[in-house]
């Protein structure tokens, strides 16, 4: 036997984990210690390359890592203990899976000989998280650990990104084995994501685009995930074709909101012009979006007269909800680049003046308008002021889920990708505050604002303590209407105005709560106070809870009632009781 004591690649499993993080360029880990991860925490203590951000609840670690990943394009890393640590991660893992966010979650597990024994803080972590991750692993042998960790990073960040989980029993963390740096053979040979689009399909797509009379580009989160170049290429494509462009909630920022071809967001709370353009178009180019039910409305009436081109990296997204004519499997940026090249070489900008005139008429409906009010702050107005007063600043926005989220999407104009962090697919209330923590960790000098609701923010409010501890000056801008606004809106529209448990009874005093956490509390109750208070919030270099008291019963419009078509939108000025009752008739069973 050779003496391995001086081999630098001989180390404990716990040391391998920290070493692998360093080898993958990880600078920050979000986590919470516990019995089954103590050896890893011991290693973290003895080094300074990886900074650990201690959260107050594992769910917070997950969402913080999501915000970190979304705003940097790098994977977010989470370290939690076995049992409850792992089960608390189920929500953020599922959230990341739905929104294709790269996360690497390392969980501790009870020692291998106790697995299956109902040991203290044991749970079947890989079983529970199997449908919540892109892939997961239980490592039973320390000599497999390096390979699995490297594969985990590879799987999380390539192809359609997503969360992965590596479950490491405590005895494996203590055991000594051989580490190796990342290498190609670490990855399953069965995993081969396809990046480059098929040339024939791209030609077919260009032919459709070149002859379009009423085209539209519908882009999604895939463009953001593909990296900043993809957004640049998308902008060039819009420029080269002169086509109108709309985007999903997840895709905001890929094309600038101030751009001339921008129609605004589409879907359930999208603009009238975006949805009508989708409905009446003859050629639709969908890039990195997945025809989600919040986008399509009633599928059998979705854009009935159009030829559809669908670019997606995940073959299972093709023809899932909507049958498309030209599917192109590949990375959004890669395919747009090729498409643009072929279009420039072989096609000319089609003449679509008549189409733009039609769109101008739809725009003139001004579907995001709302009645001004001098006495009460309207939530739409609050977002508009927040947008105006942060313009030109280095700003990142996160949100919770509900009315405030839709208003933020409608009224906050995003000029760049990676600036907008929201829970789209899973719709996780409580996402925004910890996500803001993660964004601020990645961008310590930027202005990070969580646009929140009074109900959502309470789901993860404990992370204010994290923000204070790590001196993260996040701004929590609460649109406080004292309701779970979106729940109430649906009860009003679909359940005979019976407001069952949607009133926020016994709300805390957010200003005092801020003080209790050791951060700053601000409040605005009148429109005339708003600008001053927002400016004050921006100027404070500490975490702020901003209690923005808004009109209690304002609802979010325009809206496509669930199960209705894009051309059956309900606009704010039309939302009389009678029209509403008619529009929503029969839709009760739909989500």
């Amino acid at each position: 036997m050779t003496d391995k004591s001086h081999d630098p690649n001989q180390m404990t499993g716990a040391a391998m984990i920290v070493r692998a993080l360093i080898d993958h360029g990880v600078q920050h880990v979000f986590g919470y210690p516990g019995g089954a991860v103590l050896p890893i925490y011991d290693e973290i203590f003895q080094q300074s390359e990886v900074e650990h951000i201690l959260v107050r609840h594992e769910q917070g670690a997950g969402h913080a890592a999501e915000g970190y990943a979304r705003s940097t394009g790098k994977p977010g890393v989470v370290l939690v203990t076995s049992g409850p640590g792992a089960t608390n991660m189920v929500t953020p893992l599922t959230d990341a899976l739905m929104d294709s966010i790269p996360l690497v979650c390392i969980t501790g597990q009870v020692p291998t000989h106790l697995i299956g024994n109902d040991a203290f803080q044991e749970c079947d972590t890989v079983g529970i998280t199997r449908p919540a991750t892109k892939h997961n692993w239980l490592v039973r042998d320390v000599n497999d650990l390096a390979r699995v960790l490297h594969e985990a990073f590879y799987v999380a960040t390539t192809g359609r990104p997503g969360p992965v989980l590596v479950d490491v029993p405590k005895d494996v963390q203590f055991a000594t084995g051989t580490y190796h740096p990342p290498r190609k053979s670490d990855v399953h040979i069965s995993y081969t994501p396809r990046l480059k689009g098929d040339a024939t399909q791209i030609r077919k797509a260009v032919a459709l685009l070149a002859n379009a009379k009423r085209p539209v580009i519908y882009s999604g989160g895939g463009v953001i995930n593909s990296g900043p170049e993809a957004s640049q290429l998308l902008r060039q494509l819009v420029e080269a074709t002169g086509f109108p462009i709309t985007s999903t909630l997840m895709g905001l920022g890929a094309y600038p909101a101030s751009g001339p071809n921008w129609l605004g967001m589409l879907g359930m709370h999208g603009t009238y012009e975006a949805n009508m353009t989708m409905h009446d178009c003859d050629v639709m180019l969908c890039v990195g979006a997945r025809f989600d039910d919040r986008i399509t409305g009633r599928v059998d009436a979705f854009s009935p007269g159009s030829k559809k081109i669908h670019i997606d990296i995940d073959p299972s997204s093709i023809n899932k909800n909507i049958r498309v004519d030209v599917p192109i499997i590949g990375d959004a940026g890669n395919v747009i680049g090729d498409l643009l090249q072929v279009f420039k070489a072989e096609a000319r900008k089609p003449d679509i003046k008549a189409w733009w005139q039609q769109i101008a008429q739809w725009r003139a409906r001004n579907s995001l308008s709302y009645r001004k009010n001098n006495d009460i702050i309207l939530p739409q107005y609050a977002i508009q002021r927040l947008f105006e007063l942060t313009r030109g600043k280095d700003t990142y926005i996160t949100t919770e889920v509900g009315q405030h989220q839709m208003w933020a999407a409608q009224f906050f104009g995003f000029e760049e990708p990676h600036r907008w962090m929201t829970s789209g697919g899973l719709g996780t209330m409580g996402y925004g505050l910890p996500a803001a923590v993660g964004v601020q960790v990645a961008h310590p000098d930027s202005l990070v604002i969580d646009i929140a609701g009074d109900a959502s923010v309470q789901m993860t409010i404990q992370e204010m303590s994290t923000a204070v501890q790590f001196e993260l000056p996040i701004k929590i801008f609460i649109l406080n209407n004292q309701y779970m606004g979106m729940v109430r809106q649906w009860q009003q529209l679909l359940h005979g105005n019976r407001l069952s448990h949607s009133y926020s009874e016994a709300l805390p005093d957010f200003v005092k709560l801020a003080e209790a956490y050791g951060c700053v509390g601000l409040r605005a109750t009148k429109p005339s106070d708003l600008d001053g208070a927002i400016k004050e919030m921006i100027s404070i270099k500490r975490p702020v809870l901003f209690d923005c008291r808004v009109a209690a019963l304002e609802n979010c419009f325009p809206m496509i009632p669930s199960g209705k078509a894009h051309n059956e939108m309900l606009l704010p000025e039309e939302a009389t009781d009678e029209a509403t009752a008619k529009a929503f008739a029969g839709g009760k069973a739909l989500v």
């Binding site: 239980l138 359609r160 069965s190 009446d280 599928v299 995940d314 073959p315 299972s316």
Partner: protein, 180 residues
């Protein structure tokens, strides 16, 4: 504004269900079967039959044969969803290859005497089923064939004293020299 007719998908919904046999080559690692089954239950797909065994132990490869039903769009989804799982090497729709052979094995226990016993033996012979266990009052038949042949045999045994059946589920392979 004159809207085009909005019946783009209406006929989709009335698409008849089809039965397809899928061969799935996977890395034989812990939990791989749970992943496949979880996909079917989680997304509401049907499993009519499922057969799994390691087929190449050196390479740690297992072959899963799944018989499933769904509309053509659902079948396509199932294949894509399977294909994107990390440990899945290949998914082949044996039904679409048009030249696959499917076989299933069943063991059928029949209890009875007199004419029933003779009739059971006679039918077994006609179906090329073998007797693999016999007592003075019972037989266990082993029968191999496609699923419908086996079902037919079982139906015939029912009035003759059928006690129980154990079926393996379908295994499938393509004709000709090429592998999957």
């Amino acid at each position: 504004m004159n809207q085009p007719a909005s019946a783009y998908f209406l006929e989709e919904r009335h698409d008849p269900n089809e039965t397809h046999t899928l061969s799935v080559l996977v890395q034989n690692e812990p939990g791989v079967l749970a992943r496949v089954i979880g996909l079917f239950s989680g997304r509401g797909y049907n499993i009519e039959s499922l057969t799994v065994s390691e087929t190449e132990s050196q390479k740690h490869l297992s072959r899963i044969t799944i018989v499933t039903t769904g509309t053509p769009m659902v079948i396509q989804q199932i294949k894509h969803q399977l294909d994107r799982m990390i440990p899945v090497y290949r998914v082949v729709d044996m039904t679409l290859t048009g030249s696959s052979i499917e076989r299933e094995l069943a063991m059928v226990k029949v209890r009875g005497g007199g004419d029933h016993r003779v009739e059971a033996l006679r039918l077994a012979d006609a179906f090329r089923a073998r007797v693999i266990d016999a007592t003075t009052e019972s037989f266990v038949f082993e029968i191999t064939g496609n699923s419908s042949k086996i079902s037919q045999f079982i139906d015939l045994m029912r009035p003759l004293g059928l006690v129980e059946v154990s079926r393996t589920g379908v295994a499938a392979i393509t004709r000709g020299p090429e592998g999957m």
